[in-house]
Amino acid sequence: MASPAVAFETEKRNILAKIFRQLFIPLLGIITALIVGALIIFISGFSPLQAYGGLWKGSFGDLEAINGTLATATPYMFTALAVVFAFRAGLFNIGAEGQIKIGAISAAWVGINVGGLPSFLAIPLTLAGGCLGGALWGAIPGALKAWSGAHEVITTIMLNYIATFITSWLVGADGPMKAPARMSQSDQIGENARIGTIVAGQPLHWGLVIGVTMALTVWFILYKTPLGLEIRTVGANPSAARYAGINLKFILLATMAIAGMLAGMAGSLEVMSSPGFRYRYNAALGSGYGFDSIAIALLAKNNPLAVIAAVILFGALKQGASQMQFDTVAADGRQLPGDLILMIQALVILFVAADQVLRWLYRIKAQSGESVVLTRGWGKAD
């Protein structure tokens, strides 16, 4: 009979082993991607050493770079959670782009109009405005799915377009929210509604802390609350869920609304902080976030806690790209083309997300219960 001390040691070792196994495959994926990338860079006539050196310097080389990486990662934190959360209920949320835009413009509107309120009221109000906007934009496809079976992939994509055009018009040449003498941007939100940076003069702002908190909250909701259990049950088997008495329509609606809210929060924080947009709603906000977030969600294997690591990786790739281009010069003076940099980013995502390829490549056996369901059928949720 094992003594309690030994049993505890074994338990600890098991948890460590599990964590190690979870991290090992993604790390292997990144390394494999970098090796293939290095090959491509070399064949194109550039030095992989210069390229990766530049990538590292640009993303983690000094405090400023790290600051930039985390700042770039922050909005993705929320939008990736928006995709992950919906996925738990079996829903593909392709609408992060529309949700972030609607959230951002709602927050901008509130932020511009909060006039004389003190900061501790203005900030939550502005944030809430954005959350409400995003939640609404997420609730629409949620309701359509729940009550008519309309597939959320189609509705969310279409709503992305609608959101893009509505917001473009609002701050466009003849739009009501356009700031005078500014192209496709709104007025600045009031001083009282702005979120400060963590280190003065650097782009990283407190949104990162909110982001990490949301990741933990999402994890908590999904795994430690009855609502989360219902959501996951619906995701695993909608018919069984209904048989078990779960209100399917409510869960679908609530899940999409919460997912939209998360993306909306990303939008609010983008407007409320300084990097890039200077406290205005900018028509360029959120472009491309929808699809990038899906890639990150897959990178994180739909695990809310892993999202934190995945967005940092993604942020590093984006942040380091310009230094990579600057540092990598071929013998004849050519600089590394931007398309090759994009290719490297894509390879990383490819190898980490398609872990089945890695397992086959390196002959690693999958443990039971570690597979990820990536496809879902069409049709109504029952």
Binding site: Q325, D332, R334, G338
Partner: protein, 370 residues
């Protein structure tokens, strides 16, 4: 099972091979520097010093897009490359992929102690002004960035152009050659002042020809000008599909001259117009060379001579005559190339007279930016 393994290996190999081939394809599609590789080698052996005896380091930050975008970024980069070739400067570029990265990309050059930083496009203007204020020892050249005439920043030269004058000229040309009297334009977003000026200039130039030289207007009636602007957004200048759709709509409505003014969006319209055999007019650079598919129907382009403009300012930095604030660069009509015979001599004379009038101020475009 063995067969599957072999098959899997083969598939993986083919996939990897195609990825590598794409990368090799990248080589031939490499931006302009590849064609001047020989020139680069020559430049490094030529005495690369300026009048001041210093080898200047020049950096270029693009607007969202690539240095081989057949438009703005490429023209500006060509000006920088010319400085490399003729003045021996050390040059490098960084391509912007996200509007949030403007400040970061400029900083990449600031950190490496570059002497001159060229930034391209109206949108990067704010970030350029901030960087110029923070780094008074570095010279900045902002392409298409109008500066506050009352408070110029000494180390920031805004290279601007009178787009309305260029638009005026092509408007007159269009009115002169159009059989149907219907002139169309597919443009980037109205919120970018240069685009707006092109569009309004086009309209006013056509009206001018009808008012002053009605006999030269082929259609024999007042020209009808339709200006189509792209909605605001990240893709306003990179939406060629929308551009060609708008062009198709304008053509079926009877327009037989199409002016494409808006980066890749306009390019889509121009190529679509050329496809359907109507007159096309390009923008910014002589697009006869940059859009070979449309070359045969490209009667002219409203050119902002960005390359000589940038080169001129870079030379000024070297010989000490650099001045901050607004620097107006030249504009003009690109040559008629294959369609020379479609432009009667009287029309050519009229256009030359209009050009002279615009330059000396006797003819006004009457374009006001709100």
């Amino acid at each position: 099972m063995r067969n599957f393994r072999k098959l899997g290996l083969l598939v993986a190999f083919i996939t990897l091979l195609s990825v590598l081939l794409v990368a090799c394809g990248d080589n031939t599609a490499t931006p302009v520097p590849a064609t001047t590789a020989a020139a680069t080698k020559a430049a490094t052996t030529v005495a690369g010093t300026t009048a001041a005896g210093k080898k200047l380091k020049v950096g270029l930050v693009t607007d969202v897009g690539r240095v081989n975008d057949k438009s703005f970024n490429e023209s500006a980069w060509n000006g920088v490359l010319q400085a490399q070739k003729e003045l021996g400067y050390d040059v490098k570029y960084v391509e912007t992929t996200d509007t949030k990265d403007y400040a970061k990309n400029i900083k990449t050059f600031v950190d490496d102690k570059y002497d001159v930083i060229v930034t391209v496009g109206f949108l990067i203007g704010d970030a350029t002004i901030e960087a110029a204020k923070a780094n008074p020892t570095i010279k900045f050249i902002g392409v298409d960035q109008g500066q506050d005439a009352k408070n110029p920043i000494a180390n920031l030269a805004g290279l601007i152009f009178d787009e309305d004058k260029a638009g005026f000229l092509i408007g007159a040309l269009a009115a002169g050659v159009s059989k149907s009297g219907k002139l169309g334009a597919v443009l980037g977003t109205k919120s970018v002042p240069p685009v707006f000026k092109f569009g309004e200039g086009y309209k006013n130039g056509a009206a001018y020809l009808w008012a002053n030289n009605p006999k030269l207007v082929k259609a024999g009636k007042a020209p009808e000008v339709t200006l189509t602007y792209h909605p605001d957004g990240d893709n306003a200048f990179s939406d060629p599909v929308w551009g060609s759709q708008q062009a198709a709509a304008l053509i079926s409505a009877g327009n037989d001259v199409l002016f494409g003014g808006g980066g890749n969006t306009g390019n889509g319209a121009v190529e679509s117009a050329a496809d359907k055999g109507i007159y096309a007019i390009g923008v910014d650079t002589d697009q006869y060379y940059t859009l070979p598919k449309a070359a045969s129907r490209l009667i002219s382009s409203a050119t902002k001579l960005i390359t000589p403009g940038v080169f001129g300012l870079l030379k000024a930095v070297g010989d000490g005559s650099f001045k901050g604030g607004n620097n107006v660069g030249p504009v003009g009509l690109a040559p008629f190339h294959d369609l020379e015979k479609d432009v009667p001599q009287e029309l050519k004379d009229a256009l030359t007279a209009i050009d002279k009038g615009l330059k000396d101020g006797s003819i006004k475009t009457n374009v006001v930016v709100s």
